[in-house]
């Protein structure tokens, strides 16, 4: 992608990044969903586990996974077309961007995020597609940081409340080796996710305040926040890239 950069506008560049990231997510997510469907449908042991998880996982939800998986694979193809056209300076019709958003939009939160982004861009990008003006101003970065902090707060609360409610507290198989291992790992995973989100919230919030008030240290905190967001694949890492390219990489906004 890099070798095309000198010849394309910043907006095309970001559209290419967006389509590229969305394509990866569609490919990984779609493959996973189809594989899960295939496993639950064709592998005996997996089928049995499906019934353990009922009513959370049923034959209906497995079928929905297949449909969504196929939609994701379709989305991957469309994303590749958008990405290719963006970096080769070809026209990007609004309808193409909008259609490429449809398969993912029904798969929250990642697909929905990228879908809304694409539709929003399709609606807003017009003649300025090939203008070489900067993509972000200071207000945009502030806005983004604040929204990120809010998103992280919600995610943190969700993980802290939702998972324990269903998968930790009620289940106790203290001494069964495999289940104990599973439970221990859910605990660890839970603790790790909450800790990461908690740290992220604090750092993004501090960065946002410092950037908004134009105080020293704002860029350093944003650096750290971006570094942590890299681990929150795919939305976090994508946004980290956006902030890096449009704020941290530049001397002045």
């Amino acid at each position: 992608m890099g070798r095309f950069k000198p010849s394309i506008s910043p907006i095309r560049d970001e559209i290419a990044n967006l389509a590229g990231m969305s394509a990866w997510c569609n490919l990984i997510g779609g493959s996973l969903l189809v594989m899960i469907w295939a496993a639950f449908t064709y592998i005996d042991e997996a089928m049995m586990y499906m019934y353990y998880a009922a009513p959370l996982i049923t034959s209906t939800t497995i079928l929905v996974m297949l449909v969504l998986g196929i939609a994701c694979v379709g989305g991957f193809v469309l994303d590749c077309i958008v990405w290719g056209r963006a970096i080769t300076n070809k026209s990007l019709p609004k309808v193409l961007l909008s259609v490429s958003a449809i398969p993912g939009i029904v798969i929250p939160p990642v697909g929905t995020f990228f879908g809304i982004l694409k539709i929003s861009l399709a609606h807003k990008v017009g003649a300025e597609l090939d203008e070489m003006k900067p993509l972000f101003d200071a207000a945009g970065i502030r806005q983004l940081l604040l929204l990120n902090a809010l998103f992280a707060v919600f995610s943190c609360t969700f993980v802290a409340l939702y998972i324990p409610a269903f998968y930790i507290l009620p289940l106790e198989f203290v001494n069964d080796e495999e289940l104990f291992w599973l439970r221990l790992n859910i605990y660890n995973l839970e603790a790790a996710v909450v800790a990461i989100y908690g740290g992220l919230v604090a750092i993004i919030a501090i960065a946002a305040v410092l950037v908004i008030k134009q105080k020293p240290g704002g860029r350093k905190f944003t650096w750290v926040a971006c570094l942590l967001m890299l681990f929150a694949f795919p939305v976090g890492s994508y946004l980290a890239g956006v902030i890096y390219r449009n704020y941290l990489k530049k001397k002045e906004v």
Binding site: Y51, Y52, P55, L121, Q143, L147, L171, E172
Partner: protein, 657 residues
């Protein structure tokens, strides 16, 4: 420039789009957070707990028995005594409850009794021992239910559950029989995975099973699972549902058969403390803990159940995540009725079919003894009949132990320090039961002068009086006439073929033309000196007729569901091929060899196998079958005469005990 154009000029398109996407994400996350809060605060969370304790976990090892009954369970009872408002469910066999009541002046038992009688503890103790009840007869289970209830009432236990959980999670359509309902049992627990095996998606918290479209057979199946289940106003969780030792002690289920001694069953204080803390956390978090029966009552009162649209045959646990058990081992009853294992340091082979037949023959003797006792009840003085009845009841107690599942399934041939061999547990208890029965018979004979040889008609067991129940005049006996033929399996009116892995050259198959009590039939006797596997194929297509256990007088059409084989206990021995009006019955004589019928994709028959890891051959195998052409009703009657309510000849001099 208007306001929008001004804003657009200030904020580039990508920035605006990103903001939109982010807002969506925030809204979605807010929604999920709301869900998290809702599930935590806005939804009911019911929690039930079942400690399945088995004092016959290492059947016959008294040190393990004592560790479970009088050391491990008391710790749990004490824990719940510290929290009188914590409901719980304990499952244990009746003899173990009696054992507990006799230990330590009954201190712990009284604590438990108080918890039961005030409704804190739900005691699921329907049977005397952890019997493999689905392989045996309705008379047996009826006696066991009655004996248990009488014993518990005698111990001043006054509250009883509506729910049953049976050893090895046996669940069976015969649970709809009135013999269970007379004690208030109307709900049988069954694994969701077992329902799934028969094509039932466990999307309801409770099911109703109805057989033959007859409402009198209705009962509830309560599916259990290890993940949350949705109910009308929230969720239901099985906080714990497994072998109790895993919560109070260091018993690792995956280590079964590797030589666990009593130390594996002793309580570990830190585990109990962790368990107590865990339950405390749950209560403080808003979980509504309740007994399983109370939970079922809640569901029933709200009509939260669905009618099953199909028949589920006799089933067991099957494997569960984390147990590391080969799932084919326990599809149905095969693990206990055909999979011969002799693991560990076994010095003796295990033979399910032979041992089950030994137990079956003991049951026949007890039924005959009971029939004779009841038939002559009023000819005996009160002291004698009371004494004989007590002795016979004692014999039944041994007999029910002999039916214990661990004497047949998993590793019954496993042995440790020459003190434990679970097959011996069954063998020895059968012997003890027969000796006691002989005492009763000889006492009856000395009082009434019945003679040396008596034929008892156990189908008249409940008549209560009169000579119709037996004959002691040998010329009046109903005897079989038998003429040996030169026919082989290929000459029978039904497909029947035998494959043996073992000593095939010395194996014999004989076919005789017989008549007994007005029934004409062919008898097939197959004798195999030793084998490690055998397959007796009976048919190639479905459906077949069989009588579900405890439904001895009604047959059900059975077809295999799905791709996996499934084993039926065939407790009255009957497999019927054809229409109700005309067909062929293949009746297995359970007194000769009692194994499960394996239903596979393209064949149905009796299949046995010795564990590949320890291929001890089983010896002196004797299959005995009756082949009868006629209608289904007559075939059922014949099967019951041969197996469930047999005509038993008794030599009063003994020698058979």
């Amino acid at each position: 420039m208007n306001e929008n154009q001004t804003r657009a000029a200030k904020s580039p398109p990508f920035s605006r789009a990103l903001r939109d996407g982010m807002i969506v994400l925030v809204i979605f996350s807010g929604f999920l957070t709301g869900l998290g809060i809702y599930f935590n605060i806005g939804q009911a969370r019911y929690a039930t707990i079942l400690y399945h304790y088995n004092a016959e976990y290492r059947a016959g090892n008294q040190a393990v028995e004592d560790a479970i009954i009088n050391v491990a369970i008391p710790e749990l009872i004490k824990m719940y005594d510290r929290h009188p408002d914590w409901p719980w469910t304990l499952e244990l066999q009746a003899w173990a409850i009696v054992n507990m009541s006799l230990t330590d002046n009954g201190t712990i038992f009284n604590m438990l009794k108080n918890q039961i009688n005030r409704g804190q503890c739900e005691l699921i103790t329907p049977l005397w021992s952890y019997q493999m009840l689905t392989a045996f007869t309705i008379e047996d289970v009826n006696f066991s239910l009655a004996l248990t209830r009488e014993t518990l009432l005698g111990l001043n236990i006054t509250r009883f559950p509506r729910v049953c959980f049976f050893q090895e999670s046996q669940a069976f359509p015969g649970f709809g029989n009135a013999i269970f309902k007379q004690y208030g049992f109307d709900t049988c627990m069954v694994g969701t995975h077992v329902l799934a095996l028969h094509g039932i998606e466990p999307v309801h918290p409770l099911f109703v099973q109805r057989l033959w479209n007859d409402p009198s057979t209705d009962f509830y199946y309560l599916p259990y699972n290890w993940v949350p289940e949705t109910v009308q106003d929230g969720f239901h969780f099985w906080t714990f549902l497994a072998t109790g030792e895993t919560v109070t002690g260091r018993n690792v289920l995956t280590g079964q058969g590797t030589g666990q001694g009593e130390e594996a069953y002793l309580p570990a204080p830190e585990l109990i403390a962790a368990h107590e803390l865990h339950l405390d956390l749950m209560r403080k978090s808003g979980y509504r803990m309740m007994t399983i029966s109370d939970y079922v009552t809640t569901l029933v009162n709200r009509h939260e159940y669905a009618m099953l649209d199909r028949f589920v045959p006799e089933t067991t646990w099957r494997d569960m995540p984390g147990f590391g058990i080969n799932r084919e081992d326990s599809n149905g009853l095969w693990k206990w009725m055909g999979h011969n294992t002799a693991k560990g340091n076994a010095t003796n082979y295990n033979d399910d079919g032979s041992q089950l037949a030994d137990t079956w023959r003991t049951g026949n003797i007890l039924k005959a003894t009971r029939t004779l006792l009841l038939a002559n009840w009023y000819m005996l003085n009160n002291a004698t009949r009371t004494s004989l009845n007590a002795t016979l009841t004692n014999a039944y107690k041994f007999y029910f132990r002999a039916q214990g599942t661990d004497a047949y399934g998993w590793e019954p041939g496993w042995i440790e320090n020459n003190v434990l061999h679970e097959t011996d547990y069954s063998r020895n208890n059968n012997h003890a039961a027969r000796l006691l029965a002989l005492q009763v018979l000889q006492s009856l004979n000395s009082t009434l002068g019945l003679g040396n040889l008596v034929q008892v008609y156990t189908e008249n067991m409940y008549v209560g009086a009169g000579t119709a129940a037996f004959s002691n005049i040998t010329t009046s006996f109903i005897n079989e006439t038998r003429v040996l033929t030169s026919s082989g399996l290929g000459d029978l009116p039904v497909e029947m073929s035998l494959t043996i892995k073992g000593n095939t050259s010395a194996s014999t198959v004989t076919v005789s033309n017989c008549s007994w009590g007005g029934f004409p039939y062919q008898a097939v006797d197959i004798k195999i000196p030793d084998m490690t596997a055998s397959r007796l194929k009976l048919a190639s297509s479905y459906p077949i007729w069989y009588c579900p256990t405890f439904c001895d007088d009604r047959a059900m059409l059975f077809s295999l569901y799905g791709e996996e084989p499934f084993a039926l206990p065939i407790a009255n021995g009957l497999v019927f091929l054809g229409s109700q009006a005309a067909g062929v019955a293949i009746i297995k004589n359970n007194s000769a060899r009692h194994v499960a019928l394996l239903a596979d994709q393209d064949w149905i028959g009796y299949y046995e196998e010795t564990d590949d890891e320890d291929p001890y051959p089983v010896k002196n195998v004797h299959y005995s079958f009756v082949i009868f052409k006629g209608n289904l009703t007559t075939a059922i009657a014949l099967a019951n005469f041969i197996n469930t309510r047999p005509y038993v000849k008794i030599d009063m001099n003994g020698g058979w005990a």
